[in-house]
Symmetry: C2
Subunit: 249 residues, 2 copies
DNA sequence: TCTTTAGGTTAACAACGTTAAGTGTTGGAA
DNA sequence: TTCCAACACTTAACGTTGTTAACCTAAAGA
């Protein structure tokens, strides 16, 4: 007997791991990384704080595993957003709004993913080139198709430079608001929808050969994004990669 | 006798305050806010950590005072950069490069100023509307002059929206690099100069009526910015505002 | 039945920001 | 001169943090 014992233990171990991740996700997403303590995460799942260290080397690797999943979730939103799109220009408009919508709906995730310096965590081989895992790869493919279709201004030839410019614009529009989170009365910060739309318009007007046509696509994309919604936490995720981040791997 | 006693004490008190600020500035600028401890700042000036609390309520207000001065220094760089400028368009190009250059030269300061959520510190009355203290006011005045001179695209009418779009673009270009600080080999991050130039080109092409003329101004401004230089710490500052941030004010 | 091992616990550590309590020194008043 | 109050500073200490060490306990395999 005891044949399936190891399997069962492995299953239980994985379940515990998921419990930790889900509890941590919820806490981090509402109060931010630094404000959440290991003891608190432990209490949430009715374990002692030290037992978390059986599954994650430290707080940092715990949050990195969450980020890893979020990056994957993030990338897949782009893939989903461009299905049915009729031109690369339309895809670009939709993708931009997906980016901005993500930052708005999941601000704490966004903060961890793009506003906190990552400590030495180069993506795994399978994450590096897969647009389902790495949104930058998706963006670059999109720029490639814009280049191939001669949609871009003639002097734009470097796909990486274009991709990074696009990224910088949407990141700026998203991040500025997260830093100035409070309603700073003196600033007259414009409503998100206006700022996001103008950011996208800036990109299309600056980079595309036919900005007028792009304006129509942008309006359609905006209309198809009914509302960005309230900030919340990402839903729970399933193991996915099943990576070994544990100490006792 | 002892007539000037109080004055002398006040002077000594202020000198100590400056010592603390200068030590803190240097430490924060090289290792970042969180990595620096109060004990360490104290040791640097050969005092105990607790004596810092005679001058600043806590670590947070200490760093905020540094930020306050940096904001002022920051704003004055813009004023200095546009003297001799022959058109608002030229001013815009120069100002953009000043912004990006600042972020590059003083990355830790930039991080504190624009990438860390500020805790409830509305600017003082004299900082709110003075372009020497508040760079946003400078930027908005610049946009106003662009609007007044009919340099902007006809559908751009809201000065705040324009200013915030410009800000978002340059912030994105600057901040992305600070988050991805390591040379992430997989990303093929373009050299700063290329990315910054393209960010400015994006803005001028998207917002100005005559992008071709702007391109010339931009090239001139780029040529006038020989090199962004290496990251370092801001030089020491003099009391300036002489605000009372101390506990025993 | 004994041993090993995985997975949990409580206790403890070092470091942090910060506060409390104690120590001189100094300028002015009696 | 003597006393006192204010001040600048120091050392101890507190409460929390992330993390490690020491211990326990139940279950699997011999």
């Amino acid at each position: 007997m005891g044949m399936g014992t190891n399997e069962r233990r492995e299953r239980e171990r994985l379940a515990m791991r998921e419990q930790i991740l889900n509890a941590a996700r919820e806490l981090f997403a509402t109060r931010g990384y630094e404000a959440v303590t290991m003891r608190e995460i432990g209490k949430r799942i009715e374990y002692s704080a030290t037992s978390l260290y059986n599954h994650f080397a430290d707080k940092e690797t715990l949050v990195r595993e969450l980020c890893r999943r979020d990056f994957s979730d993030f990338a897949q939103r782009f893939l989903a957003a461009v299905v049915g799109s009729q031109s690369p220009v339309e895809s670009m408009c939709r993708a931009g709004l997906v980016y901005l919508g993500f930052a708005e709906q999941f601000p704490q995730h966004y903060r961890l993913m793009f506003m906190t310096p990552l400590p030495e965590s180069p993506p795994e081989a399978d994450e590096r080139d897969d647009p389902r895992m790495n949104a930058y790869v998706f963006l670059k493919q999109l720029v490639d198709s814009l280049l191939a279709g001669n949609y871009l201004r003639r002097d734009l030839t470097d796909a990486d430079l274009c991709a990074q410019t696009i990224w910088a614009m949407v990141h700026g529009a998203a991040a500025l608001e997260l830093t100035l989170n409070k309603q700073e009365a003196w600033l007259d910060f414009k409503p998100r929808r206006e700022r996001f739309a103008e950011a996208m318009r800036t990109l299309t007007r600056a980079m595309l050969r036919d900005p007028e046509a792009a304006e129509k696509q942008l309006q359609r994309a905006l209309a198809g994004t009914p509302d960005f919604g309230e900030p919340r936490a990402l839903p729970k995720t399933k193991p996915a990669g099943a990576k070994q981040t544990s100490k006792k791997g």
